[in-house]
């Protein structure tokens, strides 16, 4: 059975993508998914060759047909998202702001003139690609588009199909920051999450919220403290708090400028020989595998 490992963080910029790229390299034969669909970066390191491009539709959106609109204002009255804009200087009295539109369809349904189209929208694209490590599924949400959660679910379901077809042991998922819609879509039903944090007051605060989320969904979670030596006392506090919440620390990674150096060279940091971060990430990976194997045996 393929094991899905999802990397998340709560706080942004703690090193999710750098770490995920290294896990992909260490796992050797693995499928990979980038679920940070509104600011995807993993492709910058893994350099995927895109083999299939697909449109993504997250839902429908409304548009007023100017010739049919009588300007009665029913749509303006009913829309709760402020998406029906009253114009002062155009021929059409009302237009729909596609950015504000949530695609509920109320305006179209209740328009007495049937003057509002309600059609499938294209909100982005998703890709099946190949990398030197294995297959990759990733996506690009259109600018100012919604429904990133749906796109995340789609990316995950596709990568799972591919991993199962090819009999791959792991799926590494690079998740988004935060605790909202795309994060929930990234973690529901995954086998385990690897939380990446940093020893700062913000990192600690955000970690508490993300751990609460993970416990809410009852997902096995492990913790990696990145740049732990920036504030070793804070790292110890974080480790204690995590343990108390049932999250085991599987690794501590030194602050190492080679991490940025690797990014510039488009390499996972574990492929930078003789660097402290590479050694730390290797140790973390072997700890994580041991934990996952032990957990599988128990269940």
């Amino acid at each position: 059975m393929v094991k899905e490992i999802t990397v998340i963080s709560g706080k942004g910029g703690t090193g999710k993508t750098s770490l995920a790229a290294s896990l992909v390299s260490l796992a050797e034969n693995t499928a990979v998914a980038d679920c940070d669909v509104d600011a995807a970066d993993l492709h910058l390191v893994l350099n995927p060759r895109v083999e299939q491009v697909n449109d993504f539709s997250g839902g429908k959106s409304s548009a007023i047909i100017p010739d049919k609109c009588t300007g009665c204002g029913k749509c303006h009255e009913l829309c709760r998202f402020g998406a029906v804009v009253k114009n002062t200087d155009q021929k059409t009295v009302f237009t729909i702001d596609p950015i504000a539109c949530e695609g509920c369809g109320v305006c179209s349904y209740f328009c007495p003139e049937k003057a509002i189209e309600f059609k499938q929208a294209v909100n982005g694209q998703w890709f099946i690609s190949s990398t030197r490590y294995g297959p990759m599924v990733h996506a690009k949400l259109g600018i100012a588009q919604e429904n990133s959660g749906k796109l995340v679910s789609l990316v995950r379901s596709q990568v799972k199909i591919i991993a199962e077809e090819k009999g791959l042991p792991y799926i590494i998922v690079d998740g988004p920051p935060g605790i909202g819609c795309p994060v929930i879509a990234s973690v529901t039903g995954t086998d385990c999450v690897l939380i990446v944090t940093e020893p700062t007051l913000s990192g600690q605060h955000d970690l508490e919220r993300v751990v609460e989320l993970i416990n809410f969904f009852k997902i096995p979670a492990y913790l990696c403290i990145n740049k732990f030596d920036i504030n070793p006392e804070m790292s110890d506090i974080i480790e204690k708090k995590a343990m108390a919440a049932g999250v085991k620390v599987v690794g501590r990674v030194h602050y190492d400028r080679n991490v940025t150096g690797a990014q510039v060279k488009k390499l996972p940091v574990v492929e930078m020989p003789n660097t402290p971060a590479a050694a730390d990430v290797r140790t973390m990976w072997s700890n994580l595998l041991q934990e996952i194997t032990a957990a599988t045996k128990v269940s």
Partner: protein
């Protein structure tokens, strides 16, 4: 001159320094004598309070309207399930089931019900707290853990603020939460770091603010004089850089314990004071 100006601080990539910049700007504005409010719209992971340490004096819940079905009045026609685009209300075997967490609060089901069987109640998704940090008015939103849709809460935070300078700390990314945070702002500062990930995400974020038609500029954080990635990108795109914050370990250490470079690291007060002056000038206030 309008009495009100809203400057939003955003970035595609997380962890580039939005909170550092927005909280420092708020301090600089208060010290310069402006009437200023700091609005933390990163409701999934609000952090501004860790740095500004406000005294909170009010709190209220923010909710969205969700349907309540009176099964006695329901005629099981299924119209509610048909209009709902979010699978938040479905009719199965003449029974109506509602899934409140899926509901966007559009009100379509209540409007379409021919039997008047659907009313609405408010379901809380988070809270807003307000208070003051010295002379800064402070507001932040806190999304309840397990809630997926933050935009209604973000819009509620945006509706607070003061009749002066409002500094908005936006969430990372480029999708609906960020748009809810920066929509209607007079000016956007995009914070980036000069790394390949930073520039890639700046590119997406710049596309987003351009699409929204909001004037904007860049603040480069962790700037290193030998690294021209951010300068090259901004020159090619014709985007102004209003400040470059050096890659200084003292800033990272201050940040780790919840202190701002503005007040905790010598020499940075001037940098943020100048950034405030140029942002206000660029925003034509």
């Amino acid at each position: 001159m309008s009495p009100k100006l809203t400057i939003a601080v955003a970035s595609g990539k997380g962890g580039t320094g939005k909170t550092t910049v927005s909280a420092s700007l708020s301090c600089a504005a208060a010290d310069a004598g402006y009437k200023v409010a700091y609005l933390d719209c990163d409701v999934e992971e609000p952090n501004g309070h860790l740095f500004l340490k406000p005294e909170i004096d009010c709190r209220h819940l923010v909710g969205i309207p969700v349907p309540v079905v009176d099964q006695k009045k329901c005629v099981a026609c299924g119209a509610c399930g048909q209009i709902c685009q979010y699978s938040a209300i479905v009719c199965i075997n003449k029974n109506i089931l509602t899934f409140d967490k899926m509901c966007h609060g559009c009100g379509g089901c209540a409007l379409v019900c021919p039997a008047g069987a659907i009313t609405e109640k408010s379901r809380s998704i988070g809270s807003i707290e307000g208070g003051s940090a010295g002379r800064i008015s402070f507001y932040h939103g806190n999304l309840f853990v397990g809630e997926a849709f933050s935009p209604p809460l973000i819009r509620a935070v945006r509706s607070t603020g003061c009749n002066g300078l409002n500094i908005v700390d936006a969430p990372p990314g480029t999708s609906c939460p960020v748009i809810s945070a920066i929509k209607g702002a007079d000016y956007v500062l995009l914070v980036t770091e000069p790394t390949p990930f930073g520039i890639n995400d700046l590119d997406i974020a710049a596309g987003m603010v351009k699409e929204l038609g909001i004037p904007h500029a860049v603040v480069v954080n962790r700037h290193d004089p030998d690294n021209t990635l951010a300068r090259d990108f901004c020159r090619d795109r014709g985007i102004k850089i209003l400040a470059e914050i050096p890659d200084d370990r003292r800033i990272a250490e201050a940040y780790s314990r919840g202190a701002l470079p503005y007040s905790a690291v010598p020499g940075y007060r001037e940098l943020f004071k100048e950034l405030l002056i140029s942002a206000v000038k660029e925003a034509k206030w």
